[in-house]
């Protein structure tokens, strides 16, 4: 059963990404307790070409995951568009029919539809809802019966400890992968450059608006025609995510919003467990199965070691640091005061 963590069973639930059926299989085989995925349309916030599941693939994926003892959580976490709500309704119906263990949603219309039509379907509040206060979380709990909330990646461990004392729903936090630096669900940067943003079309800095141009030995990464970063010869290139670009301001060129680093909070697992967190989440539905398999195995080893009263922090951190973007990592907001 999902969310059975209590004093007798303090084990952290490991929630792992799957962008394709092959990645779902890799995550299940690597020991994921839960696997999250989405349908191949604009109802989920990772709507990239060639990614995600058809309804048929979702049904098969749920069967396969259950065979391995893993749960499946399906993200229907974009905001329904007026006049087109049937796409979101159909997605919720499909998730329920697939036998998945929970739906991850952010929009109150989607949550309401799920609650009314499929009262037995477990509801998780997506990070896209940006609920980070006891008041907003209680609203979703009281109104829709939400059982778990995924917390934004901008909270420190101290803030999570405090929050967990004030709410009765389960909390889930990101511990590894790409870092979205704004309070999730409230960043419109990508819309300015491309007209598309995570909440409306399910993509931030969409690949269709990306171009890479070489001039002499420099490579320029552009988004919607705007130069987001440039890389000299031999320098590792990066994806032009708007908030992670190098811009010139007041005569100085720098990563204006945030360095292009990845989140790695493996070393904080014991503190997060103590903070009363139910589940830890790995970002990366767009990543390949080899990556998923390695990251899941590393985290599963860490969680198992903690369950056995031990500590695998150092080995796990070492296993993971090679897998972060450009080998550069951060513990994100967990250890710092948000700037």
């Amino acid at each position: 059963m999902l969310g059975q963590r209590n004093d007798n069973n303090p084990s952290l639930e490991l929630v792992c990404p799957a962008g394709t059926p092959a990645a779902l299989k890799a995550a299940a085989e690597a020991g994921a307790h839960s696997i999250y995925c989405g349908l191949r349309n604009e109802t989920n916030a990772r709507n990239f070409p060639g990614l995600n599941f058809s309804e048929k693939e979702l049904n098969a994926g749920v069967r396969l995951a259950h065979k391995h003892g893993s749960h499946v959580l399906v993200a229907v976490n974009t905001f329904a568009r007026a006049g087109d709500t049937h796409i979101w309704k159909r997605a919720v119906d499909a998730v329920s029919a697939s036998g998945a263990d929970a739906i991850i949603a952010a929009d109150i219309a989607v949550l309401d539809y799920a609650k009314e039509k499929h009262p037995n379907l477990r509801l998780h509040l997506s990070v896209q809802a940006a609920a980070a206060t006891p008041e907003s979380i209680s609203f979703y709990q009281d109104t829709f019966g939400v059982q778990r909330v995924v917390l934004p990646r901008v909270m420190s461990v101290e803030e999570i400890v405090k929050l967990n004392k004030e709410v009765t729903v389960e909390t889930e936090v990101f511990v590894f992968g790409g870092l979205c630096v704004m309070t999730e669900g409230r960043c419109a940067l990508s819309s300015y450059a491309t007209g598309k943003s995570p909440n409306l079309t399910g993509v931030c800095s969409p690949p269709g608006d990306v171009s890479y141009d070489e001039d002499d030995s420099n490579l320029y990464a552009r988004l919607g025609g705007f130069t987001i970063d440039g890389f000299g010869e031999g320098e590792t290139a990066g994806y032009p995510t708007l908030c992670k670009g190098r811009f010139k301001a007041e005569g100085e060129t720098s990563y204006l919003f945030e360095d292009p680093v990845s989140l790695n909070a493996a070393s904080l697992l014991p503190r997060l467990q103590k903070a009363g967190v139910t589940a830890v989440k790995i970002e990366g539905r767009q990543r390949g199965k080899a990556y998923i398999s390695q990251v899941v195995k590393a985290f599963r080893a860490a969680v198992d070691a903690m369950d056995a009263g031990g500590n695998a922090e150092e080995e796990v951190s070492a296993m993971l640091s090679a897998m972060t973007e450009g080998g550069r990592e951060t513990t994100g907001a967990y250890k710092k005061i948000w700037r």
Partner: protein, 178 residues
């Protein structure tokens, strides 16, 4: 050592020699392989969605030929051209041959070799991403792609993997990501 290996590129002398040789009918064999795959794994071509009609130019920069692939299910085509006669495509993927082959069999992660700049992407990035994600799902071994089954598949895969592994080391190709 006759040459200094450089990130998987064929040595210049071999590149020149390949330019003199007649063009082998590789396009024909590859077209058949992709069409056979479309019959056995229609889900992969559904995943490509509208991008199955994209003209992909696959450019192994260390051989004198380029390929144009239109992965349109059972109507798919793969054609081979001399580089100077290469058509314009909607999306172009260029890199050393050994790196491109490693992408097909899953030795390399597309993102990783792109960020280290061993792979260059031009044109329709959406289409390239759709192709990358589809190949990720396909999980093809070389023998499976060529239509071998059962024991012969194991033998061909074993031999191919060994040869490619050896070549990667000889050519100082990027380290495998999986």
């Amino acid at each position: 050592m006759f040459f200094k290996p450089e990130r998987g590129l064929f040595p210049p002398a071999l590149q020149k020699a390949l330019g003199i040789l007649p063009v082998p009918p590789l396009g024909f064999a590859l077209t058949r392989a992709v069409r056979r795959l479309a019959r056995h794994r229609p889900d992969l071509f559904e995943r490509l969605d509208t991008y199955k009609r994209t003209h992909f130019i696959i450019d192994p920069i260390d051989i004198p030929h380029v390929f144009r692939m239109i992965p349109n299910g059972e109507h798919a085509t793969v054609e081979m051209f001399k580089r100077k006669d290469a058509p314009e495509g909607a999306a172009r993927i260029s890199g050393p041959l050994i790196v491109l082959l490693g992408l097909v069999d899953g030795t390399y992660d597309g993102d990783a070799v792109f960020f280290t700049r061993d792979l260059v992407i031009e044109g329709d990035t959406d289409a390239v991403l759709a192709l990358r994600n589809t190949m990720e799902e396909a999980d093809l071994s070389p023998a499976e792609f060529l239509g071998f089954n059962g024991r012969p598949r194991e033998v061909v895969d074993g031999a191919t993997n060994k040869t490619l592994d050896h070549l990667r080391r000889l050519l100082d190709a990027p380290t495998a990501t999986s």
